[in-house]
């Protein structure tokens, strides 16, 4: 009995009206899906595992936008800025300190830089009373500016220590992520890297579920729904927005570190307009008020894009663009919340029917 309530208390931290999937049925399905995801590399080659790892990295990036835009109502085209900053920083530090210690130091430094950039940009915007579409424009302009800036760093004078920024050609030779003490160290590549990304994705997901379902999460959603009212209740909405924006920047930064380590390479295309669009597409299609939706949409859309690219088709961007358009017009809440709602109502109907035919009430809890 006590063990049961302990699980319930633990579960309670991750459940609430702000996330879908609060039923026992959901968690069982989640556990099965997770087990499949963990087992996947056992059955495929290193290459395929590495391929899927990239989608998991993108999913972490998508989560960062979901929390900033979907939950707090701040549309940011700039998640790739923090992503790219962290990736470049990871490259610069590891190319200068070429050891396991250097790599282990580079991870927090890179995430820290991304966080700091997000904090600074957010401070200027939110404390300068910039709101709504202007935030979107400023974040968009910052990606364009960074792309222009990084693209012209080809000359040898653009170097930080031993790391050449490389302009359009990018920065090659970034090492894999490695952890260890002294002589014993583990480098994460192939399947091992996939597992690392999966663990970090799951941790980010749970962390954000706890955040959105906690007290602060309610304040975030309140800011999204009605800023004036939340302010009347005594919250400093600038502070709420800045906090969320900074947290989002940190998560995007984590994804950026993984990205740079994944390809052992980073170049200015991470700041390009096309790449800046992708997080917006993933999150909108999946359902921006749903963390799970962001993850699922990212993995499936990226898989689809890659399949089209393999067949040599140039239509991937057209299809993805039109899909985004259709979702905004027809299903503004996104696909995953829509499917979830349909599934829940079908489940309820089925339960009602069982009730009527058996003539007794079931004690099964109804998922939200």
């Amino acid at each position: 009995m006590s063990e049961h309530s302990l699980i319930d208390r633990f579960r309670g931290r991750f459940e609430g009206p702000n996330t879908i999937g609060n039923s026992r049925g959901f968690w069982v399905g989640f556990a099965v899906a997770l087990a499949v995801a963990f087992a996947y590399p056992i059955f495929v080659s290193n290459y395929q595992a590495g391929n899927l790892a990239l989608f998991l990295i993108y999913a972490i990036l998508a989560l960062s936008l979901s929390v900033v835009w979907g939950y707090s109502g701040v549309l940011s085209f700039g998640q790739v800025v923090f992503f790219g900053f962290a990736g470049y920083t990871f490259g610069i530090v590891t190319l200068n300190i070429q050891s396991t210690v250097g790599i282990m130091m580079a991870i927090p430094i890179a995430v820290g830089v991304a966080t700091l950039v997000a904090f600074t940009l957010g401070y200027f915007m939110f404390y300068g009373k910039v709101t709504g579409v202007f935030v979107a424009i400023i974040t968009l302009v910052s990606t364009i500016v960074l792309q222009t800036f990084m693209a012209q760093t080809a000359g040898s004078e653009w170097a930080i220590g031993k790391a050449q920024l490389g302009g359009f050609n990018g920065m090659p030779g970034i090492p894999n992520i490695a952890l260890g003490v002294g002589e014993t160290s583990v480098a994460f590549s192939g399947k091992l890297f996939y597992w690392l990304c999966l663990v970090l994705l799951v941790l980010s997901y749970f962390g954000l579920r706890a955040l959105t379902n906690g007290r602060f999460g309610y304040a975030m959603v309140g800011v999204r729904e009605d800023e004036d009212r939340v302010e009347m209740l005594g919250y400093d909405i600038r502070k709420v927005k800045l906090t969320v924006f900074t947290v989002g920047g940190a998560i995007a930064g984590l994804a950026g570190v993984l990205y740079a380590a994944w390809g052992n390479y980073i170049d200015p295309t991470v700041f390009s307009l096309t790449f800046a669009t992708f997080p917006v597409i993933w999150v909108t299609v999946g359902g921006r008020e749903s963390l799970l939706g962001a993850v699922l949409a990212t993995v499936s859309l990226e898989w689809f894009r890659q399949q089209l690219a393999i067949t040599g088709s140039e239509y991937a961007l057209v299809v993805v663009g039109l899909l985004l358009l259709v979702v905004v017009l027809v299903l503004p809440d996104g696909i995953v919340p829509y499917v979830h709602e349909k599934a829940v109502s079908a489940y309820r109907e089925y339960n009602d029917e069982v009730d009527r035919s058996v003539g007794s009430s079931t004690e099964e809890e109804i998922p939200e």
Binding site: L75, F124, G128, K129, V130, G132, V133, F134, A136, I137, I138, L140, V141, I144, V145, T148, Q152, L273, T274, T277, V280, I281, T284, E314, Y315, L317, V318, V320, G321, L322, L324, L325, V328, L329, P332
Partner: protein, 293 residues
Amino acid sequence: MVNGVNLFFQFLDSFGFIVLSAIGLAIIFGMMGVINLAHGELIMIGAYGTTLSFNAGAPLLLAMAVGVISAAAAGLVIERTIVKRLYQRPLDSMVATWALGLAMTQMVRIIFGNSLSGIGLPLGAIQYGQFSYSMYRTLLSVVALVVLLGAYVVFTRTEFGIRARATIQDDDTARAMGIDTDRMYTATFVIGCALAGLTGALYAPALAVVPGMGSSFLVEAFVAVVTGGTSVLLGTTLAAGVLGTANAFFTNLYGTFIGQVAMLIVAILILRFLPTGLSGVVETVRGQMERES
């Protein structure tokens, strides 16, 4: 050393570029509250319409008219099918027009390839002393002024402009007074798109005509709209003046890249310290003067 005449031509060039980049976006935003993120793609359509018809043998001015009309037609379709449904959701209209822009760029790339053979820069150069500046690019700043003036006359001195502004101010009352507000929104959007097309048509001889060319106008357009403030025509003019000065001065001293950085720094300072934008400051000052007199 700073050469005054050089600096002046540089300023005219920057000023014209900023005004022409921003004007279509600014009118749609100021009148409708919609940020049209397909703005760059409409400029691209204007440039493609111009270049394709020029290459097919049309004289340059006729080719430019084709460019403007194709962008206006595209704008009409976009408004009727997409933007119309999203008036109450400004962020969603951004995402939707953005999605459209992405698909349009890629479609153009698939149909016409990665570049078109360009139109040579017409009209030659102005010579002064040992320097020279492109006559055509200088002329563009005059066109920019004409466009600003034209927009001012249309929106303040004509029946249409008054109806359009009435719709913006209070669309319920405007409708009660017998104005077809839906048509006003459509017309405003199409005008904005036609102006974007004009920008594309005008810069088609001066820039490389490629599918992604729209994005090279976006920074100037957005920065001008954001720093200009709520009164769009005044705001765009002031923003182009201030930002153009910063850009021209630093470009002249240290090259185009530093020129752009200087422009952005000025924009950030304006945003941080003048939250109502440049036109907001002018209006506050004007209000104070009226109260004192």
